[in-house]
Symmetry: D3
Subunit: 137 residues, 6 copies
């Protein structure tokens, strides 16, 4: 195990209790070299760099992934990491609304849908503010 | 409930018997403010504007969503709305073929797949025109 | 010159006085086979199909190209074709606003910028409705 | 059945034992004309052209589809075709790693996930090179 | 001038000395209604919402726009706004490096290129850390 | 200069006489750390890996960049590298035609346009095969 790989895994675990799930199921088994390079590059070379705080990196990741709309599983992982890092569910939802301005409501709504259960507790608080009739009026 | 939100919901119901399904399941529960802004912006501010007819707006929505390939659930909703508004299944399929020119067959075929059941009746009519052998020849 | 190629060129000329500019400058010179296949596929096989009217095809093209944000020159060509076909500048702008809902204001604003001169006359009519201070207040 | 359609089907079968699955399930039933044009254009007009070898075409298809991240089913089909054509699982994984440079790890990892079972045998060989702890350390 | 439009313009000016340039040149002239809706939605409805701090919103905007790679002018505007809000050039570059993980080096490098002059002062400080030979060795 | 950076530069020079132009103008000056990571990751870690031949990597790069349509300068660089590596102009054009199937003619035509001068010699050979009338018939 290279030092870079070990450092990347450390970052993964530090970012989320569910750390290795990002690479644990699929990538590491079928494409271990791919997983190693992902861990080394993303989590050893880039993420721990000192020039930008963790919170902003996590929100940048969420915004980039939501705007692209390509990788719901990775988006979920970073939303969970942001919540683990102390971001509130409301902040994540606000970030996705911000993304809607640039990437459209289609991408933003899909992103919300992908993280539905992670953001669900939030709803109980203010769900009543926006009634949606469940049947035609 | 703001006037804009109410006006947006009216547009949703006018566009499809299945109106609120666009926001009813996920968005409204987890992110009511997101749902409210989506309804207000997309269906109160933009869609009912007088400068473009409903049919063209619906096909523009279908083309934009199919070209992006990010939000199959929203694409389905607008295909259903177009059918409800009197568009034929064949017209929707033709629009997706038109999209294939610009966004590629990959996006267009995924769009068709996402709306498969909605467009299925169409096939019974002319399915025989294009036989696909089900086994190697 | 194949029949399909000839039919495609006929469609190009029928769509816009500026017909062959879509392929005339770059594609036809460097990659004539590419240009031939584009003309045959897009303008002989797809565009003239009877199942969808020309106006809807043009707006679907505009919406798909604007949503993707990849090909401003082609977007311009189809905007010009839509104007030549009788669409008003206002209708094109409304279609781009509709695209903004799904693809974001970033893509829609870039699309408008790409077609700026084609849509400019429109502004003289109602430009006063939306004053933008040109200096800090 | 037109000559072009027949030629396209021949290419489909030549590319993969699972040839018609690309269009067999959804497209051919709901949208036979769409399926016919896809087969004719992609597999009669483009794929068999003499100017580029089959292997490079298949890898170009895989790279383009993985970079876009829109059509996992089509990506799977071309990965299978590449394996049928003699490419190794490792070569496909390397191509996806190459795509990661340009399209990001998000798209590349989703592409790998979409082809997981097709690429699984590969892992048994060198899976040990990259251990991922399954629990927090 | 509606209250929402006025509130949106206030946000624009508060975000950047160069506030109205985002809409001042193209949008407001050719498509004043488009500009008004953009200002109202993006800068009155979304940006000033209390649930997320300005800094995170700006970086989310930068990440979303860089990941999409569609709208360099808007990206520039938000980079300038982030610098005006106290972000350092290095932080912006780090955010773009973070985007490179998810959206690829292609999009990230294009984003950097689009903001080149805005980020240039940064280079003088540590440009020596990474010598690039200007001629073949 | 780290060993990985040096190895990456070696690959850059080996791929193209115009090697460092990929990073020489913009990236290295404004964002040297970004340039270093790009060179290390893309050209030291990924490109020289033994599991896939150089030709296929170059065509995968071209296909991925053309399909995305985000980074014409990087696409040009890889097209030049492919030509330097012995690919013919016709092969590059065929690869872009292959991309058109999946990503649409819009992206493919833009890609061709971006590499116009690099692919120009090709045209002289068979430009006569596909006459495009320069005026309305």
């Amino acid at each position: 195990m290279s030092d870079r790989y070990r450092a990347g895994l450390d970052t993964l675990f530090a970012l989320s209790r569910d750390g290795p799930s990002l690479i644990g199921d699929g990538l590491a088994a079928e494409a271990p070299e791919f997983a190693r390079l992902l861990v080394e590059f993303a989590f050893a070379d880039i993420f721990p760099r000192p020039g930008l705080d963790r919170r902003t990196r996590l929100f940048a990741a969420i915004a980039a992934l939501a705007a692209q709309g390509k990788a719901p599983a990775q988006l979920r992982w970073f939303v969970r990491a942001a919540l683990d890092a102390g971001a509130s569910r409301g902040e994540v939802i606000e970030a996705l609304m911000q993304v809607a301005v640039f990437a459209g409501f289609a991408a933003a709504a899909e992103a919300l849908e992908a993280c539905r259960d992670l953001l669900a507790d939030q709803a109980s608080g203010d769900g009543r503010a926006c009634p949606v009739p469940s049947a035609a009026r």
